[in-house]
């Protein structure tokens, strides 16, 4: 019947590219992305789902990649920070972070950008309080959040404008 297994073959789409890999079933998705696929933009800050540095999108939803096993990403579509924008074509959220000093050391930044990406899709016109709540699942130790909150407001504005223009 069902065979016992400690290794498993998975097919996963990351930033539009399909990968087929055999993985140890205990490999965390964060480790898989970083070590197997070399997508080191996803950072690991606590491995217990608190800090949010490893946040990625799975089928469009923001989740902690340290709390998922790589095998659980089988047949799923993932977006990491590498899939949000490029140095030559920053996403409006990334632009807003750049213009509003939304980052200092930059280690937590990919997690924030991903969380904000999902948040502004759900709530394109957020209040300050809603922004703070939405960011509360991501820890930053450099900025005191001031620049990040400003960036989210600016990003919402930018996205609205591009919506109007588009």
């Amino acid at each position: 019947m069902i065979d016992k297994t400690t290794r498993k073959k998975i097919t996963v789409t990351v930033n539009g590219t399909v990968y087929e890999r055999e993985v140890n079933v205990r490999t965390l998705l964060s480790d898989f992305l970083r070590r197997e696929l070399g997508l080191t933009g996803t950072h690991v800050g606590c491995e217990q789902g608190v800090c949010g540095a490893c946040t990625i999108l799975v089928d469009g939803q923001a989740v902690r990649s340290c709390l998922l096993l790589a095998v659980q990403a089988d047949n799923r579509s993932i977006t990491t920070i590498e899939g949000i924008g490029t140095p030559d074509h920053l996403h409006p959220i990334q632009e807003a972070f750049w213009e509003n000093h939304g980052l200092q050391c930059g280690f937590c930044t990919p997690g924030f950008v991903i969380s904000v990406y999902e948040f502004l899709k759900e709530n394109p016109d957020p209040s300050d309080e809603e922004i703070r709540e939405a960011l509360s699942g991501n820890l930053c130790r450099c900025t005191g959040y001031q620049g990040i909150i400003k960036s989210v407001k600016a990003a919402a504005e930018k996205l609205k404008q591009s919506e109007l223009a588009g």
Binding site: M1, I2, K4, T5, T6, K8, V25, R26, L28, D31, E47, Q48, G49, G52, T55, Q61, A62, V63, R64, C66, L67, L68, L69, V71, Q72, D74, S115, E118, F119, E133, A134, S136, G137
Partner: protein, 295 residues
């Protein structure tokens, strides 16, 4: 912080999952959202030999309105409950409680059933279900049995579910006319486990007298604490300062919290009284139609 080795199965049907559970016995552990399990696996505080991943059991992922009740599949994500119009309309208490769970990134993954089975006595869903009442459908190879929520939680992180069983769905009676609800919790930071949480669900008659009340406190006992007998002294009463004082006194008598690194027993006792009063008051006001927004 990496998990120990385990065998991993990803059954496609409930039946397959139940067969696996039967075979694995005490070595088997179900993983659903994994938002409580994986952290403790990464810290090696939990080391299951056999992990049965039920995320493929899409049949268990639903929210359905059915005349006098709402049925929620065990695998339904907490975020789906949060966003559900059906829940919003018929189970206001749940809509109010779920946003307190962790953060959006964990609610996107964490499941309704997982929270119940994990049975953390401060957790929002167990508390809310205890206040709403309802039945849990628990399946094994042999049968599907129904357990009332009052009989479900046994002690800290322990429920009535046997190793060969699995929670499949939860049926919750919908709110009555002139119903009011309120959920509130205190934690050190937003999204942390509550120090104390309180849920209240009540109905009133045309003279604003309480006709039915369920008041539940979390973080004060090994399981969510339903203030039993509340109907005996609250039914027929309108809200008054003396009634609220009585709520405080009874709660003081009934709770038996413990100290941990986040709070002492005395502080939890204090909070449980304050939160009980707050949620009773706010539920009552809601029932009278005085305040519809979140408290």
């Amino acid at each position: 912080m990496k998990p120990v080795k385990f065998d991993y199965y990803s059954p496609k049907t409930v039946d397959e999952a139940l067969t696996l559970l039967e075979e694995a016995g005490f070595d088997g552990k179900i993983i659903a959202g994994g938002q409580s399990l994986v952290p403790i696996m990464n810290m090696r505080l939990s080391s299951p030999e056999c992990l049965i991943d039920i995320n493929q059991l899409h049949d268990l992922q639903f929210i359905e309105f059915d005349s006098d009740k709402v049925k929620i599949g065990a695998l339904t994500r907490q975020a789906e409950v949060e966003r559900s119009d059906v829940v919003q309309k018929h189970l206001g208490l749940l809509s109010e409680a779920v946003p307190f769970i962790g953060h959006v990134q964990t609610r996107n993954r964490g499941t309704f059933g997982g929270s119940l089975v994990h049975a953390d006595p401060t957790a929002e869903i167990p508390l809310s279900l205890m206040a709403l009442g309802g039945t849990l459908h628990i399946a094994s190879k042999e049968e599907v049995r129904e357990v009332n929520v009052e009989d479900f939680f046994i002690t800290y992180l322990t429920t009535d579910i046997m190793p060969n069983e699995m929670l499949t769905e939860i049926h919750i009676p919908i709110e009555q006319e002139r119903n009011g609800y309120s959920f509130y919790e205190i934690s050190r930071r937003h999204g942390d486990f509550a120090l104390v949480a309180s849920a209240c669900q009540l109905t009133i008659d045309h003279l604003d007298r309480i006709t039915n009340v369920r008041l539940v406190l979390g973080g004060v006992e090994a399981t969510p604490l339903l203030i039993e007998g509340a109907n005996e002294w609250m039914n027929g009463e309108v809200l008054s300062d003396s009634l609220l004082q009585k709520v405080e006194d009874i709660v003081d008598e009934m709770v038996d919290p413990e100290s941990d690194i986040h709070a002492t027993a005395e502080y939890r006792r204090h909070l449980s009284k304050k939160l009980a009063v707050r949620t009773v008051k706010s539920a009552y006001e809601r029932a009278r139609g005085e305040a519809n927004e979140r408290s």
